[in-house]
């Protein structure tokens, strides 16, 4: 592939960037509705509160109410505009799919595109089988020649690293894809994921015109990838094109409800967002295509002033990259993608909260950027919405606390005007919360957009009602945790970079749930006693929230379990009913690996380490991939000492740092291979005696431990 692919031929420089007149009209319309709704709600609240003049607590309550109501209105109008867009008789003039003619959909692709997947201690089988599916899906389109794949590893668990190397080699061998799929491991994971991608851009970015960024759990079809490249070619004004990744593969109730909600309500919200965001949409960090030249020139991230958690390395890099890209004059667009772009979600409530903790800190960091110079106003609004998505939980909590204060000090309500205002406000708020959902459900019943058959439409309707119950129970629990995360961030408690769990793996962890949720239940109990003491009517008013909090532990257990109602066709998504080829192919291969006999748990735990020292081929691969440079961090004597300990006491006697020091040194890795095989039984730790005896029995092929065993012909049959 030549470097010429790195420069876009400018057809019309601004093509893809919506006309300013259109964007302004759309935003004026949208924010007029949002503003009107917010002002109306705030005015009604003021009328209700100010019957006897405003006290401090009433002002505080009103202050918390304003951003909450703004957020509620934004969601409401986004959904309603989305439903309108999906049903309007004439197509949206800004729809990017319409920028391609039918002939252009068939034209050969010449632009060089790198598909990059940054990974960090992820499930190796899932990563490489996902990649295989994407690769085969692209091959099936006949346009794969200009795509290269890069697995960009920052994994710091040694066994994982070795398994990644061997899975990469095996995948290349099975697909005959040497020179097409590349593996790169960073020694030091500087600046985490964004640093990983930037490192790719610095080393190889100039070779490619586009970069498709994937997460470790992403899955994309070849057809959609081609369409994205063609749209970027036709619209040189677009810097980032973000797809709508649909959630797949969930096995728990929480996961299935989330993926159902995303499948049912997501398209309307996406259409609505696209309506008012126009060329200033957000980048979500994955399942998107990026124009590399402007990205390299303009989107390197500076550290924020101060230390973490507010300062330092930017965690939620994607929003900032989108803002920088827009600042550089390129559009960031959303692409309406009903199929072809997928991701997985967290399986349990605890996993979801761990992810939210990270996202919360990332979004709170954007506070600095709100007031920075040079942003497009919409970029500021995007930052604000990101901050509000977590800060609103604290505001809601504050609102409820102030409401408790006010209920504890009641004043006589005499004015009929105030009573009417309260009733109207209640009705309006209920409409803002439930009307978008009702409208989308009605739309599905009438149009059958998700499912065609009347029975499935009815089941979708029923599932829509049931998910309301789940979300109603979850919302107060999430409010408490998100509030805690915001406070932690303000207090300076940062988050560690941890591996995300994407599958349940062995059932619900009761202990973890109990440890995390008991304070929530205690809080609900105390609050309930206070509310009862204040008045019975107040207790009834606040009881829906308190009941959810009180039941936090059973709720967390129930939503993290695998009783999901699937056999009754509840929460069914189109991807479950009719899996797309790219998903079907991957799941077949995952099932094959899952069904295999396992080694002893101790050997499985250190499998990568066992292989790199015992297997002559994997040892050769690892040494070949290591950069040959002198290990300046540690002395030869130190390496010999830990190597001796590894032989005599086994890998469990070494710390991760010791293993890491050893595994980075080519001489130590090579010599250990022979030292282990040379040692008599009495010189070896029991781990190695078992490993030597069992290794050959278990190994059907040294590299295929984590991958499905497919021949080239199998692969062709399985083409998605």
């Amino acid at each position: 592939m030549s470097a010429a692919g790195s420069h876009t031929t400018l057809l019309t420089p601004s093509q893809g960037l919506p006309p300013r007149r259109v964007a302004r009209t759309r935003r004026a319309t949208f924010f007029s509705f949002v503003g009107l709704g917010t002002i109306a709600g705030v005015w009604l609240m003021y009328v209700y509160l100010s019957e006897h003049g405003m006290r401090w607590s009433e002002w505080a309550l009103l202050a918390a109410f304003v951003p909450l109501y703004y957020q509620l209105n934004t969601g409401f109008w986004t959904a309603l505009f989305g439903v309108w867009l999906m049903n309007r008789p004439s197509p949206d003039p800004l729809d990017l799919w319409r920028s391609l003619t039918p002939e252009e959909h068939e034209q050969p692709i010449t632009a060089g595109t790198a598909i990059v997947m940054p990974i960090y201690n992820e499930d190796v089988t899932r990563v490489f089988e996902g990649l295989r599916s994407i690769y085969l899906s692209l091959e099936a389109t006949g346009q794969a020649a200009n795509y290269d794949f890069f697995i960009l590893s920052d994994s710091d668990q040694t066994s994982q690293w070795i398994e990644e190397e061997s899975a990469w080699l095996e995948l290349c061998r099975q697909l005959d894809a040497f020179g097409r799929i590349f593996y790169r491991k960073r020694r030091k994971p500087i600046n985490r994921k964004s640093g990983n991608v930037s490192d790719f851009c610095r080393r190889w970015g100039r070779r490619y015109r586009y970069m498709v960024v994937l997460d470790a759990d992403s899955l994309m079809s070849g057809g959609l990838l081609n369409a994205m490249v063609r749209i970027m070619e036709k619209n040189p004004g677009i810097g980032i094109l973000q797809t709508f990744p649909k959630q797949i593969g969930s096995e728990t109730l929480l996961g299935r409800v989330m993926q159902f909600a995303q499948a049912l309500y997501g398209p309307a919200f996406m259409a609505g967002l696209d309506y008012w965001q126009c060329g200033e949409a957000n980048f979500w960090g994955h399942n998107a295509i990026v124009r590399l030249d402007p990205f390299i020139k303009n989107c390197a991230l500076p550290p924020l002033p101060g230390k973490e958690p507010f300062g330092g390395h930017i965690l939620s890099h994607d929003f900032v990259e989108a803002a920088l890209m827009r600042k550089a004059g390129y559009a960031v667009r959303l692409l309406n993608t009903p199929r072809g772009s997928y991701e997985e979600g967290p399986p349990t409530l605890v996993d979801m909260l761990k992810r939210d903790r990270r996202w919360c800190q990332g979004n709170m960091q954007h506070f600095w950027l709100l007031f920075a110079k040079g942003w497009h106003p919409m970029s500021r609004i995007n930052f604000l919405h990101g901050i509000l998505s977590y800060a609103s939980s604290l505001l809601w909590l504050a609102f409820l606390v102030f409401a408790t204060f006010l209920a504890a000090t009641p004043l006589p309500r005499e004015s009929p005007q105030a009573g009417l205002a309260a009733q109207i406000l209640l009705g309006l708020t209920a409409a803002l919360i439930f009307l978008p959902k009702a409208t989308i459900l009605l739309d599905e019943l009438i149009t059958g957009r998700v499912f065609k058959t009347p029975v499935m439409r009815a089941m979708t309707f029923l599932s829509g009602l049931l998910d309301t119950v789940v979300f109603t129970l979850l919302a107060p629990v999430l409010m408490i945790f998100h509030s805690r995360f915001v406070i932690y961030t303000i207090l300076g408690k940062g988050v560690r970079w941890v591996t995300q769990r994407r599958k349940l793996d062995g059932g619900v962890d009761w202990v973890e749930i109990l440890l995390n949720f008991w304070p929530v239940s205690v809080l609900a109990l105390v609050w309930g006693v206070v509310a009862w003491w204040v008045s019975l009517s107040f207790l009834l008013w606040i009881s829906p929230i308190l009941v959810s909090l009180l039941l936090a532990i059973p709720i967390a257990v129930a939503v993290s379990g695998t009783r999901t109602g699937r056999r009754f066709h509840l929460f069914l998504t189109p991807e479950e009913a009719e899996p797309p080829g790219v998903l079907q192919a991957m799941e077949q291969n995952l099932d094959e690996v899952k069904g295999r006999l396992r080694l002893q748990p101790e050997l499985e735990r250190f499998h990568g380490l066992m292989q790199v020292f015992l297997d002559p081929y994997i040892n050769g691969l690892h040494v070949s991939l290591l950069r040959r440079r002198r290990n300046i961090d540690v002395s030869r004597g130190y390496l010999d000492e830990i190597a001796g300990r590894l032989i005599q006491q086994g890998p469990q006697s070494l710390s991760p740092q010791e293993i890491k020091a050893m595994i980075h040194d080519t001489d130590t890795v090579t010599n250990l291979h022979y030292r282990l095989w040379s040692a008599a039984d009495h010189e070896l730790a029991p781990f190695w005696i078992t490993a030597i005896r069992q290794y050959n029995l278990a190994s059907g092929g040294p590299f295929a431990h984590t991958l499905a065993r497919k021949t080239k012909d199998d692969a062709i049959e399985n083409k998605p």
């Binding site: 610095r202 080393r203 007031f371 040079g374 504890a408 081929y617």
Partner: protein
């Protein structure tokens, strides 16, 4: 295929030690995915013969250690013959050469010629050489330099405040306690 004709009568070491060496060599050659048992036995016996000679010279080391060392030397010689035209160091030849044998399909296609540098088929040597020539895409280094973002006056003030709070945890907690105390005090005033 050559006839199996090995005289194995070690002058040094016990029978138990040589049996252990045999078992270890059997496992070792199996780890090369050589499923042809006859070839594996040939290799084991040839390696044991060399190891017995080495053990006679240096009886301080175990027969197992001598056997694996001999296997390594045989491998180095064999790979050295195949890769002598490529500009590789000895360590590179050893690592990449083993991998080259696997990637060329050697264990299944040419098990009889593993460690045999006298009867090496040319297509096998070429397949092994081309397997190690595959490498990653050449780097085309770009500059990706972060540009400072002017955070404006509000951020400057906020940064100073947070910086001060960050450097003085006591101040941070005092502020939090003050806020919480004010809220509770206000509640007390309301309810008394």
């Amino acid at each position: 295929m050559e006839a199996v004709n090995i005289q194995f009568a070690p002058a040094t070491g016990t029978e138990e030690e040589w049996n252990e060496a045999y078992a270890r060599l059997a496992d070792y050659f199996r780890s090369y995915q050589l499923h042809n048992r006859i070839r594996r036995t040939q290799l084991i016996l040839e390696t044991l013969r060399r190891a017995a000679e080495a053990h006679a010279r240096e009886p301080g080391r175990t027969p197992t250690a001598h056997s694996i060392e001999q296997a390594r030397l045989m491998l180095r010689d064999w790979l050295g013959t195949i890769y002598r035209d490529l500009n590789l160091s000895e360590a590179q030849i050893e690592a990449a050469g083993r991998l080259g044998f696997y990637l060329s399909g050697g264990p299944a296609r040419w098990p009889h010629f593993f460690l045999d540098d006298e009867n090496l088929p040319e297509n096998m040597a070429e397949a092994m050489r081309s397997a190690v020539r595959t490498s990653g895409p050449g780097m085309q280094v770009s500059k990706m330099t972060p540009r400072d973002i002017d955070l404006g006056i509000v951020s400057d003030v906020a940064e100073d405040t947070f910086d001060t709070l960050g450097r003085h945890p006591m101040l941070r907690y005092a502020l939090l306690i003050t806020i919480a105390g004010s809220v509770l005090g206000y509640l007390y005033l309301l309810l008394r």
